[in-house]
């Protein structure tokens, strides 16, 4: 199979992963993966279950550590060893199960882990007023129909929960948002909402990686597609160089991977 090389777009890539290997015991989950994303680009990362999509993005978001390989952020080599560090760089992840805490409010969920504080003598006190105001603003921006930022997340619909997760990226000025199967658990209207979130991110020059095995959801928004199979990259094509049929074929042909 031919690997189509993507021409270097203007400027350096935002993130570049080089020759990434990951073993789970004896299983070689990633076999020397190379991957890059340019600023403001929407990349569809597709492949069947077990292709290595989740492993790849977990390494990038600091949840897993790689066994070998290098990661460059804006041209500099970095060591993404924890979620905190990834967030510090500006990598925000919207997980499949959305990483929300049901019994806490929308505002608490958006800011969890990096809440604004104000000084109260020697003590640092949560600035709940600011969190509420900012959460309200974000909800308005993203057209989430949440009655109040004090609403507990367990009462939110799937689409609204996605919105909460995306609000984190918007508020903390991420430059790369990873969306792990963001549409899997959603109704049709929810899917539309997520797709509009993603185009919204692009308009603010925030790059995103859209991980999915549903090609139809990603096709309309992505600029480029990366197809994985059994821990290897089998295709890396721009949208104008391919068609949805072509991609489906690539995904199906994974049985005869390059050796």
């Amino acid at each position: 199979m031919k690997l189509k090389k993507v021409k270097e777009s203007k400027g350096a890539p935002l993130v570049k992963m080089e020759d990434i290997h990951k073993w789970y015991g004896k299983i070689h989950a990633l076999k020397g993966m190379s991957f890059e994303v340019c600023p403001g680009e929407i990349v569809g990362l597709i492949g069947d279950n077990g292709a290595g999509k989740s492993t790849l993005i977990k390494i990038l978001s600091g949840v897993l550590s790689k066994n070998r390989g290098k990661i460059y952020w804006k041209g500099e080599e970095v060591n993404v060893s924890s979620v905190k560090e990834a967030r510090k760089l500006g990598i925000e992840t919207v997980y499949q199960d959305q990483a929300v805490i049901g019994c806490l409010s929308v505002a608490q969920n958006i800011f969890m882990g990096r809440q604004p504080v104000k000084s109260w003598g020697p003590a640092k006190v949560l600035d709940k007023g600011k969190m509420r105001r900012e959460a309200e603003k974000l909800a308005r921006d993203l057209k989430l129909h949440i009655p109040s930022p004090n609403q507990e997340v367990r009462f939110c619909s799937g689409g609204e929960i996605q919105g909460v997760a995306i609000s984190r990226a918007m508020y903390f000025k991420a430059s790369l948002v990873i969306l792990d199967e963001p549409t899997t658990a959603l109704a049709v209207s929810g899917v539309q909402k997520v797709l509009s979130f993603i185009t919204r991110l692009k308009s603010e020059v925030i790059a995103s990686i859209f991980v999915t095995h549903n090609l139809h959801h990603v096709y309309s928004v992505a600029d480029r597609f990366v197809v994985l199979s059994r821990g290897e990259k089998v295709a890396d094509v721009k949208k104008e160089e391919t068609s949805i049929e072509g991609l489906i074929e690539l995904q199906l042909r994974k049985g005869v991977t390059v050796t």
Partner: protein, 323 residues
């Protein structure tokens, strides 16, 4: 939210205080001399040692954990500090014992925290082990009781200032302090986040293991202070001190509306649980109810509290559910 809904929600959220008021009014009407300033102070005073254990358990439960060893921690702490001041280091001034109680308690709690947070063992099993260890170590240190000890050690749990037992401001102050930590600091929000959904908390960059460690350490320090209050209340340190009170500590936290599933509940609610148990206990004592029956009654109160909390949660959901 509409005004009526707000009031309904407040009624549901502060239901424990209505029940306390109800119980208090009931006993005031049926028992002469129940409604006196002195008696109210005495109820609070008696409730204080157990109250500190309830707070410790509440912190653990909020973080999605449990600590079975808290009461034995309190007893073992009291015994260690007692033996230290009497035998090992009699040259230590008595007041150092007050600080030592909190420190030793925190240390014993940190042992749990280490095994749960760092070694990632099951909290039930870890604290069951330390329950046994702390319980029998107390007997091993001293079979019988320490009766003579520096007077300073008895002041926090038994002394008074202007007629008010010092234990009472300790109990109430601690509830307010914990409310502040749990509801108004980042650390407190991390405890709730971990209790609510520890996987999500981990993905949001919260160090779950570290937070667990500190949860158990704080609960241990509270148990140490409880040991201090038990010592002052009993005026001695018997080897049975605080033994088995963990069950009442659990009951108090649950009665106060702290959820076993983690994340939900408050320090002020836990204080309510302590007070309700205190009021009912005092009422039963003053009517000269048989002690065994009083124990039975505690069980029924807990059962009732679980039922009430369940309906309370349903009511709350119905009010909060977006229309």
């Amino acid at each position: 939210m509409v005004g009526v809904e707000r009031i309904k929600l407040a009624l549901v959220d502060y239901m424990i205080w209505l029940i306390i008021a109800g119980a208090f009014i009931f006993f005031s009407c049926t028992i002469p001399r129940f409604l006196t300033f002195k008696n109210v102070l005495f109820i609070l005073y008696v409730a204080a040692p157990l109250g500190l254990l309830v707070f410790g358990e509440a912190v653990c439960l909020l973080g999605g954990n449990m600590d079975l060893s808290l009461s034995e921690n309190a007893g073992f702490t009291a015994m260690i500090v007692g033996v230290m001041l009497v035998d090992w280091a009699p040259w230590l001034p008595g007041w150092t014992g007050i600080i030592l109680m909190a420190l030793v308690g925190a240390g014993l709690g940190a042992v749990n925290g280490f095994f749960v947070g760092k070694v990632k063992l099951n909290p039930f099993l870890v604290t069951l082990s330390t329950f046994l260890i702390y319980n029998w170590m107390t007997y091993y240190l001293r079979r019988g009781a320490i009766i003579k000890m520096p007077g300073a050690l008895l002041i926090p749990g038994g002394g008074r200032i202007g007629g008010v037992f010092i234990a009472i401001p300790i109990l109430i102050g601690m509830a307010i302090f914990l409310y502040f930590i749990l509801d108004h600091t980042r650390f407190g929000s991390h405890i709730r986040a971990i209790g609510g959904n520890s996987d999500a908390a981990n993905m949001l960059g919260i160090n779950v293991g570290n937070t667990h460690f500190w949860i158990f350490t704080i609960a241990g320090a509270l148990a140490g202070v409880a040991g201090l209050l038990y010592t002052g209340y009993l005026k001695c340190i018997p080897s049975t001190i605080a033994e088995g009170d963990i069950f009442l500590a659990f009951a108090g936290a649950i009665i106060g509306g702290v959820s076993l599933r983690g994340g939900r509940g408050s320090a002020i609610g836990a204080l309510g649980g302590v007070l309700l148990m205190g009021v009912i206990n005092a009422g039963c004592t003053m009517t000269a109810m048989e002690p065994a029956l009083r124990g039975v009654l505690n069980g029924f109160i807990l059962l009732a509290a679980i039922l009430i909390n369940k309906t309370r949660a349903n009511l709350r959901d119905r009010i909060l559910m977006p229309k």
